[in-house]
Amino acid sequence: MIRKLNITIRFVFFLWCILRCAACQKERITINSSASEAFYVANDGASMRVLVQGNTAGNTFILVIHGGPGISSYFYNTRYISQNLGDKYAMVYWDQRNAGASQGNANGRNLNLDQMVEDLTKVITVLKFRYGKDMSLFLLGHSFGGLIAADFITRPGNQEMVRGLINADGSHNYPLNDTLTRQMLLSFGKDQISKRRNVDDWETIVSYCNTHTGNFNLEESQQLEKYATEAEGLIDSVKKINIPSLLLKYSIADKYPLTAILSNLLYSEDSDFNKELASAQFSSALKTVTIPVLLLWGKYDFTCPPALGEDFYNHISSAEKRIVISPSSGHNIMLQDERLFCDEVNSFVLKYR
């Protein structure tokens, strides 16, 4: 009797689980001023999470292409951005493959730039399928996301899919990026040493830059990036980002899959994909770009120096282009100078949507 009861209970439980899961996957499309819905786009071994949050009724969407590789879009979804951009537009947070809440099995072989551009194209296709083909869509690329955005918009036909591009501290040319990072570290380092500020730290950085002068390999490139992050922390006027505090503030409310985010980050940081990226550059292809472009940079961004933004600005053919340098920001302008970031994005999107 107990055996039969036990089997029945387990069967009912299992059936309930399946039905519960099926209910979660039911298509739900919300058109209002405070939507919040997650869906997935499956492509070549990865199911990538897309969170649409904010005003979907306005029919204007800003698709965030996060940095990394391997950083998640969760970190861009702050209260300030929700309140100052999400109230007017729908913010679209896409977790790239092998990042954030994206899921899959043995899919590491598909981790490359071509694949990511294809993923982005499919995410845009699904967005238009859900919310209408006539939507006004803007891309917002940050850091490594700037490379994906540059690759995407320089491919034939892709500019027609979006109304404009916002490049925030993005990198479109990795070899140039390394050169400019070294130059900036050297010039700032010498200046800071002469002013007797953090002398020991700067001497280590300057010494490294003096002994590594060009044609950087992956290790050198990664070391320069590490020093760039350290250097930003040495500048007192730059707002510091407190990661533990961000996690405490958002991880429960936004339902972060913390351990998956960490596994994905560690895998992506260490993958062979980074070797391919070391030589990626789109400066010469940027002349084909004619859509409106907004460039937002931090004055103290050593990771992707402001000169990289100027290179982007000088190479594109867009008639409508603007570059803004934040005087108090480093590599993460959307977190370090939120007000300027949101004001500039607002004006740009309002003008070109």
Binding site: R20, A42, A260, S263
Partner: protein, 210 residues
């Protein structure tokens, strides 16, 4: 050399163990254990249900100068469980585990245990999943998700109500760490908290026979 003479009296047996005291006999009659638990991964809730088969009991009485100074039971069990948790906007995870459990029950009923074993996980993505073909046609994938191999390891403590109150129940709480692979070509770890109750039907029969 030990100064005090320590005599270990017992025994080792299977589910029909040949023990020498009444208390040991009661334990030996345990055959099948049913369990039901709240199963929470990080903070995301779920349920776990399963059975445990006792494989081995070692009931030990430690004596000094002819007096029993300590009395405990070590058990080895094989467990089969079905587990589920719901992480909104991420996934629902239904996973089956088989575990080898090493459990120690003190004479007052306090339980400590360690377990590990393999399993199988099937996730269901928490959201509609779309696929786009080369012509730009969009379709919805039904019951989308992934299958993973899984290893679980955990430890916990509990209380056996049989020892003092002759009730066929145990309550327990434990922390498990499940690792799923290949997860995006790597391993995904998740801590899982489990708290629940075990029911031992064999003990009811034993009590009724008296």
């Amino acid at each position: 050399m030990l100064k005090s003479s320590t005599i270990i009296l017992t025994l080792l047996a299977t589910t029909l163990c040949k023990a020498q005291t009444d208390s040991v006999n009661h334990i030996s009659e345990r055959q099948l254990i049913l369990k039901l638990a709240y199963n929470s991964s990080l903070i995301y809730p779920g349920i776990s249900a399963g059975i445990e088969f006792p494989i081995l009991h070692i009931s030990t009485q430690v004596m000094e100068n002819g007096k029993i100074v300590r009395n405990y039971t070590k058990s080895r069990l094989l467990s089969g469980k079905i587990n589920w948790y719901h992480h909104p906007e991420f996934h629902d995870n239904v996973y089956l585990t088989t575990e080898w459990i090493m459990r120690r029950t003190g004479y007052k009923g306090f339980i400590s245990e360690f377990s590990m074993g393999p399993g199988f996980s099937r996730t269901f993505l928490s959201g509609t999943t779309y696929a786009v073909d080369d012509n730009g046609n969009v379709t919805v994938i039904k019951l989308s998700g992934y299958s993973y191999a899984l290893i679980t390891i955990g430890c916990g403590f509990g209380y056996d109500y049989w020892c003092r109150k002759q009730l066929p129940y145990e309550i327990y709480a434990r922390m498990n760490l499940i690792s799923m692979f290949p997860y995006n070509s790597t391993v995904s770890f998740r801590p899982v908290f489990e708290a629940g109750i075990r029911y031992i039907p064999g003990l009811v029969k034993s009590r009724n026979r008296k």
